[in-house]
Each structure stands twice: as structure tokens, then as C-alpha cells.
Symmetry: C2
Subunit: 225 residues, 2 copies
Amino acid sequence: MPAEAIKVTVDTVAMAVQQGQLEILLIKRKHDPFKNLWALPGGFLEDDDSTVEIAAARELLEETNVGDVYLEQLFTFGDRERDPRGRVVTVSYLALLRQDDLELRASTDASGVAWWPVLDLPKLAFDHRRIVEYAHQRLKYKIEYSAAAFSLLPPKFTLRDLQSVYEAVLGRSVDNRNFRKRFLKSGVLQELAETSQEGSYRPARLYSFVEQEFEQLPDRPVFVF
Amino acid sequence: MPAEAIKVTVDTVAMAVQQGQLEILLIKRKHDPFKNLWALPGGFLEDDDSTVEIAAARELLEETNVGDVYLEQLFTFGDRERDPRGRVVTVSYLALLRQDDLELRASTDASGVAWWPVLDLPKLAFDHRRIVEYAHQRLKYKIEYSAAAFSLLPPKFTLRDLQSVYEAVLGRSVDNRNFRKRFLKSGVLQELAETSQEGSYRPARLYSFVEQEFEQLPDRPVFVF
């Protein structure tokens, strides 16, 4: 195959934490290849897309109705055998979302759109399983060395909510006391006057994330538990 | 332009530190577009390349005679206007090298191959200046949070050599005493019995990098100066 026949696609791993589980947004393919399998939302880069990132945002919106998201480029996968249609190089992106903010709607090209738990994924089309694993690894790193966890939370959250995000992403429990202590002294949380009443727990203090603080700290805090 | 006309290239930012300067390996273009301008070594992904990384290694070898290097994928650039030949998406890679180990040789496609100081680059073809800036930024981060600095050093080096690499990459001087103290207590340096005698300095102790130590440290050391 001459180099001219190579195509470029974009694929987005959109992640959210729901009920203590890390979940990924998938669409069900209506057409071949991999008809009826689940896949990452994505598609071909088109010349109307002035940048690759804009193509990823366009495909995500078209296929899932999720718009206005911050996309981070992850990695480009281009192994020869990854697509049965021929040589297709895909640029992958990560989006961190809150499910409550979204109203999913599948495009006419797909027969479904849904959130799936990372720990219980269906069989995926192409090499999308590998892309999901790469994204998950990146997110694990990001929540330890950046403020990424707060993109997965509503503006007001309890320490329990915050810990739940870390545990969902890391896939393990973290020490309760140490977790709270580290965050409370880190300077990135603003204690609010309000409390949250959920279920049979006693009212819990609500916090918000102080983005400016985080950016301005001379030694960036590291949240490795 | 239909999506079918999109092409994929690879470009490598190969970096080394020489005489206290951070330098980049460039080739001089013999043909249009950008004839006679300097550019990153790279070229079109071909179907014989089983992976994109293999394409980058092949192009680097063909164009500069530099082979057998570790390549790290950096970022994929695909803005519509970046190549006058049409839509070309390029996957960029970073290589960290030691100039003493290499014998450069330009391919017949190029009219030159040379190391250029990052702080004194010529006008570059395409958006290669932007790619170089991205690579430099990544390297600044990497030497603070990984063992990347040692890829730029020979197996035996003095503390002065090590500090010179940090200063060249960061583009500023670092505090001498603090630098030495941090590294000596980090556990990643093995003190050797040998010394180095250079110029009119008094003999300086030689060290080697203890890779295993670095990997096994529970809290990875951070070399932010």
C-alpha cells in the first residue's frame, strides 16, 4: 500500500466517576467493521477540521451529544494491523467529565451510546481496549501530579466524594485519615459554610477547589497515597 | 480536500548536551517545500513500517545515520496550514543522545546534517520550531521527574557534568551546593574509585547512575532546583 492510502482518525476516551466507579463513554457500532461492537467515539479527520483536536471534539459531539469539553491529546496509535480497512493512524484524546452535566444521544451512525465501568467493559472494536488502558494509566498519573481529580467532581463536594474519585481511578482504597490530612493541609480546598446530607450519613462539610492556589504553589502538591 | 488525501509523517527531535549547550539534530532540505531550510529529520509513514515509531527510527537513520536510539512519542501536530503540500499530520518523537557516540552522515535527500544550539536555531521548515519548543518543554519536565538526564551523559561523569546537563536543559544556572547535596543523598549515584582530570581543574570524582535504585525508590526523587 502506498503512503497515500493512509488515513487519520481521532478517538476520545471520555471518563467520569459515578457511584464510586470509573466509567467510560462508548458507542455501539451500527456498521462494519466491528458492527455491533462497542467502540470509542471518534471518526475520520476531515479537511474542514482546522486542527486534530477540533476533529475529536466534532466527532464526540456528533456521536454522543457531549460538547464543550476540554480534550487532552493522549497518544497516536498507528500499528499496521490495527484497522481491517487498511492503514489508519488514530490520534487519541482524554476528556474528564461529570455525568450529571450530560444528556447522551447517539448519532444515526450508532445503535447506542452508554457509560461503561472500566472494570467491566464489553469487547471493544479495533485496538480500543489498548487505548482505554493507556488513558486509564495516564489518568492515574494525572490525579497524583495535577488537579485532574476536580474535573471529575461537581463544584461543591465532600471529602468523601473526593476520596471516592481517587479510589475509583486508582482501583483501590486509600487510607482515610492520611487522605483527609493531606488534602486539608494542601491549600487547594476551600471549606464552605454548607453541608451535604446524603442517605443515613451525618451531614458532611462541603468544599470547593481553589484553582488559583494550586497554580501558584511553589512546590506543586503531590497526591500519592 | 477529501479525507483520503491526508498524509502522515514522523519527525524526531534528537537532543544532546555538548559543551554545556543543549543542541538539536537538524538536516538541511535539498528539495521543496522549504528547500535549503533546516528541518527535523523525518518523512512519510510507509506501509512497510509496522509501527509509527519504527517509521521515525527508519527516517532518523536514513537522514542522519543515527541508529539504535530510544524514541519517546511527544505529540501529534495536524493543523490544516502546517504543510504547503496539503494536509499532513505529523507524529513527533524525542530522542536523547550523546554526540560522542555518533557519526553523522546526511542522506542523499539532504544537503547537510548538523547539531544546532537550541538557543541559536536557524529558521526552520514547516512548524518545526513549534515542535522543538514542545520537545524542549517536555525535556525540562522530564529531567525534574525522571532519570532522563542520564541519557544525555556518558556512563561515567562528574557532578559538574551532571549539573551542566541540568543547566543546559533548564537554560539557567542552579545552586551548586544544593544541587550536589540533593543528588548525593538521592541514592541514584554510585561513587566510583576513578577521578577525572580536565583542563586546569583539580581532579574530580567520577560517578555512575544506579538505574535500579531509581526504579525501586518508593518515593521517586524529584530534582527541581
